[in-house]
């Protein structure tokens, strides 16, 4: 391959990379603006205490964030529920509780996973209404 060919090929690669860079920069800017409008930047917590060892726990999330892939243990910890709260209210007898995902439990119990997630959200909201600061 001649030097001229190599040079032209190099220029073509550089041109493609610059176009890709511009596209990525536009997408990046758009997503940052969307994040800003959604208020995500106002939700951040100071990182200072974290650097000293233990940071403060974040606020209790909205129950609408509960998803099928979450485990009962994770929901109990992050929504600050008593350890057996979900087990009692949802009448769960699976021995793997709380280290079990909602999806896997619903399937093993013959329930529709989406309906079950809805029931968990309702229970968690019910607890949050009576205990705003958590357990």
């Amino acid at each position: 391959m001649s030097n001229g060919d190599t040079g032209n090929r190099m220029k073509a690669v550089v041109a493609i990379l610059i176009v890709a860079l511009i596209v990525l920069a536009i997408l990046f800017g758009r997503d940052v603006m969307n994040l800003y409008r959604s208020g995500a930047f106002r939700r951040y917590r100071p990182i200072g205490p974290l650097l000293q060892g233990n940071g403060p726990r974040g606020p209790i999330p909205d129950a609408g964030h509960i998803e099928k892939w979450m485990t009962f243990r994770f929901i109990t910890v992050s929504f600050r529920l008593p350890t057996d709260y979900l087990k009692t209210t949802l009448d769960i007898r699976d021995t793997r509780y709380p280290n079990l995902t909602l999806d896997r439990y619903a399937k093993s119990a013959g329930l529709d996973p989406d309906t079950f997630v809805g029931a968990v959200r309702t229970d968690v909201r019910g607890y949050a209404d009576t205990h705003p600061a958590g357990n």
Binding site: F28, R43, Y44, G58, K68
Partner: protein, 205 residues
């Protein structure tokens, strides 16, 4: 979505899951490591995991994965890579140039590929092994680069908490921008080297 399996895996096996995913991702598998570590940071902010432990285990997993691919390529070398189908790439002119450029800037290549061009990480590990880069040089550059990467990604997840998924796509675009800038810089270096070689050939002729 694939990421949800990884998130369940993280919630079920916690620190062991962090080690396994970061190790395999650094070794060779294209796993969603950044999103995974960001999620671990978010879970730490909700009290499910401990932030220092997430950092320590994440760093241990990535460094162990990098060291493994470095040792494998150092031990088995080009002969093995040629046998498993990389013959054409290894004999290509551009690969030879890449090797020469890499040898000149091995430590900085290892360091920057850990956090600025993460998708090149495994390639750089293999090149380091093939170039028989000194273990100590590789190790320190690797630890320094991975520490920046792990602290930045886990820290972002921690800071943004339950909205980490919205932030994840932004960081992916940012990683893409950094990667292209690094590639442009690298092409400039290659071009300069080629011109220098051409000039010295003309002078000697």
């Amino acid at each position: 979505m694939l990421i949800t399996y990884f998130l369940s895996f993280l919630l079920l096996y916690r620190y062991a899951a962090i080690f396994v995913v970061t190790f395999l991702s650094s070794l060779v598998l294209p796993l969603p490591e950044s999103a995974f570590l960001m999620a671990a940071g978010a879970f730490a902010s909700q009290g499910y995991l401990e932030y220092p432990e997430v950092i320590a285990v994440g760093l241990a997993g990535t460094v162990a994965g990098d060291m493994s691919s470095y040792f494998l390529s150092r031990k088995y070398g080009k002969g093995f890579l040629m046998k498993i189908g990389f013959r054409r790439i290894l004999r290509a002119e551009w690969f030879r140039e890449l090797e020469e450029n890499f040898s000149e800037r091995a430590a900085s290549s290892v360091f920057f590929s850990r956090f600025a061009v993460t998708w090149l990480g495994t390639t750089v590990n293999v090149l380091s092994g093939l170039a028989k880069l000194r273990l100590r040089t590789f190790l320190w550059a690797d630890i320094a680069g991975e520490a920046i990467y792990v602290v930045a990604v886990v820290g972002t997840g921690y800071v943004f908490g339950d909205v980490w998924q919205n932030v994840s796509s932004v960081t992916e675009y940012l990683a893409g921008i950094l990667a292209i800038l690094m590639l442009l810089y690298f092409l400039r270096l290659m071009n300069r080297r080629r011109r220098r070689r051409k000039r010295s050939t003309v002078d000697s002729g």
